[in-house]
């Protein structure tokens, strides 16, 4: 089955995908139990493509993203599968290679920008530091670059802001700064972990638009994580829906939002509150997500699924393609 994605840039289509993840599993050992955070994820990302991973809390979105940078605590996590970015095998990299890879080939934007900055260094220093690290330039040049970047992400009074400490910036401002930091070495892959969830609606849209513009301008590939359908719709070319550590459905935005196939995706769409259903009961998905330490046999969504049958409990359903790039992992669908 082909999981290749269409991109807006036909020239890129000939190149191999930038990111290829196959059969990724991540387990965490805690003192009392073992958490199966990611359970066999296959994913690829073309150059210049924006992919959104959509899923509820605890579905393994952040873990997948962190695995791409090998940021998980080495001692407590067990990773298997294959992860390659720009032709490099991430899981096999040495520490030295990793530090060169991180921030340069791939870089990351975090959910809480306030927490992602070192509170005792100025923003400018932190950006300059990255630049110096990867491009071997002087601190002065690093700061000059930081200024350019600040202007790029449209931070007003950029010069003054550079000298601010993280706690002196507002939420939207620090997220912009975070983006500037992530872009400082022109990465090929940008990972964004719910970068707008903590922001107000009016700020969120600004950041989304900014990211969209920058992605287009710089031709980056982006993996964007969110649990908000609307956000996913605004930003992405393609959406992958994640549930209990697996991708259950993936497809182009229009396809997925217009005609969701997996019962979970459908449930999510249906349970969205909006003016339309005023006064009616929402079609909520019953129950709660499974405990990742004790995953049910077969389809993890089966216990909550209104259409579940015995077949669903037997084995993890395989992906079934619906179009060239739209597929869902549900037994109910024709193979």
């Amino acid at each position: 089955m082909s999981l290749a994605a269409a991109t807006s840039d036909p020239a890129a289509a000939s190149q191999p995908p930038l990111v290829e993840i196959s059969d990724l599993t991540v387990h965490f050992r805690t003192p009392t139990r073992q958490v199966h955070a990611v359970n066999g994820v296959d994913l690829s990302l073309e150059r210049g493509e924006v992919l959104t991973i959509l899923g509820e809390s605890g579905s393994g979105k952040s873990v997948t993203l962190r695995t791409l940078m090998r940021l998980l605590p080495e001692r407590r996590s067990q990773i298997s599968g294959r992860v390659s970015v720009d032709g490099q095998d991430v899981l096999a990299m040495s520490q030295r290679q990793l530090t060169r890879f991180r921030g340069r080939t791939a870089s990351m934007i975090f959910q809480e920008p306030m927490l992602a900055f070192d509170p005792v260094y100025t923003i400018g220093e932190q950006i300059a530091e990255t630049v110096c690290r990867h491009e071997g330039v002087s601190r002065r040049e690093g700061l000059a670059r930081a200024l350019e970047l600040f202007e790029l992400v449209r931070i007003p009074s950029a010069q003054r802001r550079l000298a601010n400490y993280p706690h002196e910036l507002s939420g939207g401002m620090s997220q912009r700064a975070m983006i500037a930091l992530a872009l400082s070495c022109r990465p090929k892959l940008l990972l964004a972990d719910e970068p707008t969830t903590a922001l107000d609606a009016t700020v969120q849209i600004q950041i989304l638009l900014l990211l969209r513009d920058l992605q287009r301008e710089l031709g980056m590939s982006v993996i964007f994580v969110t649990h908000d359908m609307g956000v996913a719709n605004e930003i992405s070319d393609r959406i992958a829906v994640m549930y209990a550590g697996r991708i259950v459905e993936s497809g182009r935005v229009e396809e997925l939002i217009g005609a969701p196939q997996h019962p979970y995706t459908q449930g999510l769409m249906a349970s969205r509150a909006s003016g339309a259903q005023r006064g009616q009961r929402l079609e909520a998905i019953p129950g709660a997500p499974p405990d990742l330490a004790e995953l049910p046999q077969g389809c993890a969504f089966a216990p909550r699924c209104p259409q579940a049958s015995d077949e669903c409990l037997a084995a993890v359903p395989a992906a079934r393609g619906l179009s060239d790039i739209h597929w869902a992992a549900c037994c109910r669908l024709p193979a």
């Binding site: 060169r100 921030g103 870089s107 975090f110 005792v120 530091e129 990255t130 690290r133 400490y165």
Partner: protein, 317 residues
């Protein structure tokens, strides 16, 4: 910034006054007659009265306090009841020795504490961590006067390598950096260093572990920084708290060396205080406690100000 500084500095005044009141009333809590220290018990009563007049012990307490504070502000803490010497000079010459000891102990304790704490914090949960944590708990749990005795037994009594008492072959005013003097410093300084070692280790370990768990450390790694550079960030984050703890520890050493000084007959404030207590030498008792407490208050002030300078998050408005 200046406002914060000014406020913090001005806050020292009421504290200092309260401290002086406490010191003064402290000795008047005590049963017994302050005169006992001045005149030998076989002195006839007219002699006692005579000396009482000479020392001003016959005046009402508020007046004594007022005079005492007024003179204290001018640097005059009165005369020792036991030997008639000026308390200020006595206390400061002793304080000099205590400072020497405290600095030596801090040097040992803080260095070890920082190294141990950082290692343990970085390798949290490892065997090394458990070992270091064990040492640190031992450090804060050991009765240091006993450790001092133990060291004396081993290094002075049994091995006869190091002297067990005093500050050196000459008097402490001749002190200089010479082996003859340094060897006297070793045992007391090591003894005194275990508690700050333990405390600093524990603090630094907790801080390092805490900082490493922050998201920004992950972000630093995600930027591609090498572990060495990440470490620099950790240090800068840990530094304000670690410095504050060390400052306080230094203060505790000044006040807390009394037991160790007694064990090693180190001519510092602790020994002075101990003797003053047993001789019921109230002026010395008052004076020493006052000077130590004020020193501690100043140290706290410095630590606070330094912390405010180091940590951009502290309100400066």
């Amino acid at each position: 910034m200046p406002i914060y500084f000014l406020k913090r500095v001005l806050y020292v005044i009421p504290i200092a006054l309260a401290v002086s009141f406490f010191c003064f009333s402290l000795v008047h809590l005590s049963p017994g007659d302050p005169m006992d220290a001045v005149v030998s018990p076989d002195a006839p009563s007219e002699v006692v009265a005579m000396v009482q007049r000479a020392y001003g012990f016959d005046r009402p307490l508020p007046e004594q306090y007022g005079r005492w504070v007024l003179r204290a502000v001018q640097g005059d803490l009165g005369l020792s009841a036991a030997n008639g010497r000026a308390v200020t000079a006595e206390v400061f010459s002793a304080l000099k020795n205590t400072l020497l000891l405290a600095f030596a102990a801090s040097l040992i304790g803080f260095t070890l504490g920082c190294v141990f704490g950082t290692l343990a914090g970085y390798f949290q949960g490892s065997l090394l961590d458990r070992l270091v944590t064990g040492i640190a708990v031992g450090g804060v749990s050991v009765p240091h006067y006993w450790l001092g005795m133990l060291l004396v037994i081993i290094f002075s009594v049994e091995l006869n390598w190091l002297p067990s008492s005093g500050a050196g072959p000459g008097s402490s005013s001749d002190w200089n950096v010479e082996w003859a003097y340094l060897r006297h410093l070793i045992l007391p300084a090591v003894t005194l260093s275990v508690i700050p070692m333990g405390v600093v280790t524990r603090t630094v370990r907790a801080m390092v572990a805490d900082i490493l768990a922050h998201e920004f450390v992950e972000a630093l790694r995600a930027k591609g920084l090498a572990e060495r550079q990440v470490f620099r960030h950790v240090v800068k984050n840990v530094a304000p708290t670690a410095l504050a703890v060390m400052g306080l520890q230094l203060g505790y050493l000044l006040g807390g060396s009394i037991l160790v000084e007694t064990v090693f007959s180190w001519p510092g404030t602790g020994l002075l205080l101990n003797n003053a207590i047993f001789q019921r030498d109230l002026p010395i008792l008052q004076g020493t406690i006052l000077v130590l407490a004020l020193f501690f208050v100043m140290l706290n002030l410095i630590v606070d100000l330094a912390q405010a300078r180091l940590d951009p998050r502290i309100q400066r408005g």
